[in-house]
């Protein structure tokens, strides 16, 4: 902090109250070129579950890199900030930049946090790597220092819908014009963005959209929606839900005996272990569009396949036997790529250099543990080699079914058997 103290002294009386409280924030920047990265994630509050998943991925990557000697010959340091919502994001991004003096910020999983925080980074010419927020508009603002690893919502929702048309509908043997599809999504950023893009693809394909409904993920009851679908009898149900409402919905669907021929989730609840635990055997057969860390490693480059194994084993070792989730995988992937590829290529923590190194990065598909490659679009700075993968719960495990070469299983059990008879899938 640099204050022109002489002038300041004149106003000391008036100002004292305000400043004394902020004094403890004073922090000296550490050695010039140590790789110190800011991390902005929702670690408490309603988004905490997946936020902490991402954090484990970041942490694991950092630990593994440091064990290999760090970056620029020094240990990597993370300045982690818990940002439960976008209101805190501006403040905390500013603090990371000015007080912690970070040149790179990694975030943030929630689109709203990403919107607010990346704007601060852009103003301060600090590089912001977004690992998991999907809102399309995040990268349509022409920002020069914002890079996104994950695919946007339109590709997730649209991809999921396309997958249904390509891989599921033929198995049902119903032509598109007669195929009845219902769309259900939670009404925050994630759900609406994904739901609306799925809708666009479905409309184009000419299927019958019998219902498109949103609801709040904080709800304690989804039985009216279940009842709606019992009435409308869609063939396929496409949903986009967070974990709590996902568990609630599928359990209530089971209780009410709602039977549809195929069910597709879009990330959120549908690729986390808690979902499988909550549903028991009945989780089997449910399809998911999203990212997976349970892909076929034969599709990965040899080097990456080794890292893939290491990621799984180290994760279980360091986090009490816990199996990694997709979000942990994405977090790991982003942090690993930044520390392993981008920063060494940049050679220093100079943001211009980091930016150029990022733009120059060219990793083919199959070179990261989630299957993606990395090549940032020079215009939008989105990762052009990220894509959703498609999974199905089989034997209470999530198994990738598409795209090639990452599938380890085939789509089974379409149309789905009744509830309670899905143990064998």
């Amino acid at each position: 902090m640099t204050l022109s103290r002489r002038t300041f002294g004149k106003l000391a009386v008036g100002a004292a109250a305000t400043t004394t409280l902020s004094m403890p924030f004073i922090r000296r920047a550490s050695a010039a070129d140590a790789a110190k990265l800011g991390v902005l994630l929702p670690l408490s509050g309603p988004l905490a579950s997946l936020g902490n998943d991402v954090m484990r991925g970041f942490d694991l990557a950092k630990q593994m890199i440091n064990e290999q000697g760090g970056v620029f010959g020094q240990d990597v340091e993370l300045a982690i900030v818990d940002v439960p919502s976008s209101t805190e994001a501006t403040s905390q991004a500013t603090r990371l930049i000015t007080s912690e003096r970070v040149k790179v910020i990694m975030g943030s999983y929630a689109s709203s946090i990403s919107f607010a925080a990346s704007q601060v980074a852009e103003r301060n010419k600090v590089v912001y790597f977004e690992q998991g927020a999907v809102a399309d508009d995040i990268t349509s603002r022409g920002f020069k220092y914002l890079f996104r690893f994950i695919y946007p919502a339109s590709e997730l929702g649209g991809g999921g819908a396309q997958f249904m048309l390509d891989a599921v509908a033929p198995k049902l043997g119903i032509p598109n014009e007669q195929l009845k599809v219902a769309l259900l999504y939670e009404d925050s950023f994630y759900g609406t963005a994904v739901g609306e893009s799925a809708r666009t693809v479905l409309e184009k394909a000419g299927v019958q959209i019998v219902d498109a409904t949103s609801y709040s993920y904080k709800t304690t009851d989804l039985s009216p929606m279940v009842q709606r679908y019992k009435e409308l009898q869609p063939d396929v149900l496409i949903v986009c839900q967070y974990t709590p409402d996902g568990i609630l919905f599928w359990r209530q669907a089971r209780e009410a005996g709602l039977s549809v021929k195929a069910m597709i989730g879009n990330g959120g609840a549908h690729n986390v272990n808690e979902f499988a635990e909550a549903m028991g055997d009945d989780v089997n057969g449910i399809l998911n569009a999203g990212t997976s860390v349970y892909i076929n490693k034969a599709g990965l480059e040899p080097e990456t396949a080794k890292l893939f194994d290491l990621f799984h084993s180290e994760h279980e070792k360091r986090f009490d036997g816990r199996k990694p989730s997709a979000h942990t995988g994405m977090g790991f992937n982003a942090m690993w790529t930044v520390l392993k590829d981008i920063l060494p290529a940049a050679g220093s923590m100079d943001t211009q250099a980091i930016r150029e190194a990022s733009l120059a990065l060219d990793k083919p598909i199959g070179s990261t543990i989630v299957g993606w490659g990395v090549k940032f679009d020079p215009e939008t700075q989105n990762n052009t080699r990220a894509f959703p993968t498609f999974d199905q719960w089989q034997g209470k495990q999530i198994r990738t079914v598409a795209p090639d070469p990452f599938g380890i299983a085939d789509v089974k059990a379409i149309p789905m058997p009744e509830w309670g008879q899905r143990g064998d899938i």
Partner: protein, 294 residues
């Protein structure tokens, strides 16, 4: 027609959940005039209690309810003696922010101890998750929760009407000064009320976990609805809580069927409308809404 009946049944069962979640709140609200913003967190703790009981000892929370009740009675007494005692004759704002502080602290303690994972248990064997009744589906866990709500309600009413202690609680809730003149020690009554209110809330959490999930901020999903139920039914009216809960559950389910997007707004719109027409709630004491709790 079948759909309508099914919706009404689902709504009534949801109403049971709401009533159960709100009963303890109303008891404390009615007697000690404390708006407990940490109510949802006690419910959350009850859910975790049910969860751990099942995972660690294998005891189904339905059978374990008495243990939860005893433990949470003590927790409630500690809650009163350790914190709320200092706020009881204070302005309502003090109570709001003290309980709010507690809510923040408890939520994040749960986060520290148990992490942010969503935890669920299955109490019913495969295929028993719902009862079939003339073409209607009744989710077993919610039916049981509903049963708990009714039993607890009746027990509380009998306790308040028929026992000396219960009548003393009623007396304090209606007129603190008069009760004191009658030789009732309000401190003891408050400890008892908080114990009882929190015990009910704990049991509620315990029997709700089979049909929901436990995670640190799950309380926030329930607390606003619980407030709405209490105000709808009427401050200090135990029967009102059930009526309010059932009414809200059915209206919400029917409304949710017609316009899912507006489902979440229904409780609040209902609350504002009802208060505009009948400010004291459905079964509340007239004039209670004018009561400034200091």
């Amino acid at each position: 027609m079948d759909t309508l009946i099914q919706l009404i049944i689902s709504g009534a069962l949801l109403g049971g959940v709401y009533a159960l979640a709100a009963l303890g709140l109303n008891l404390i609200f009615g007697v000690a005039k404390v708006i407990n913003f940490a109510h949802g967190e006690f419910l959350m703790l009850g859910m975790y209690a049910g969860y751990w009981l099942m995972t660690l000892t294998g005891i189904n929370p339905y059978y374990g309810a008495p243990f939860i009740a005893v433990a949470f009675f003590l927790l409630g007494a500690v809650f009163y003696l350790g914190i709320m005692r200092f706020t009881i004759y204070r302005p309502e704002l003090t109570q709001v922010f003290v309980t709010l502080g507690l809510s923040i602290a408890l939520q994040n303690l749960a986060l520290m101890f148990w992490q942010a994972d969503y935890r669920t248990i299955q109490t019913m064997p495969q295929g028993m998750s719902s009862l079939q009744l003339g073409g209607m589906h009744l989710p077993t866990d919610r039916v049981i929760a509903f049963g708990f709500a009714m039993v607890i309600l009746i027990a509380v009413i009998i306790f308040l009407r028929k026992t000396f202690t219960g009548r003393a609680i009623e007396a304090v809730s209606q007129d603190l000064m008069a009760a004191q003149l009658m030789g009732i020690n309000p401190q003891k009554i408050f400890v008892l009320t908080f114990g009882l209110g929190i015990a009910i809330t704990g049991v509620a959490g315990g029997v709700l976990i089979p049909s929901f999930y436990a995670f640190p901020s799950v309380g926030t999903f329930f607390v606003l609805v619980a407030f709405v139920v209490v105000v709808l039914g009427g401050l200090g009216s135990v029967t009102g809580t059930i009526v309010g809960g059932l009414g809200l559950g059915i209206i919400e389910t029917l409304g949710g069927y017609v316009a899912p997007d507006l489902k979440e707004a229904l409780p609040f719109v209902l609350l504002i409308l009802l208060l505009a027409i009948r400010p004291h709630g459905l079964l509340g004491i007239k004039g209670a809404e004018k009561e400034t709790l200091k």
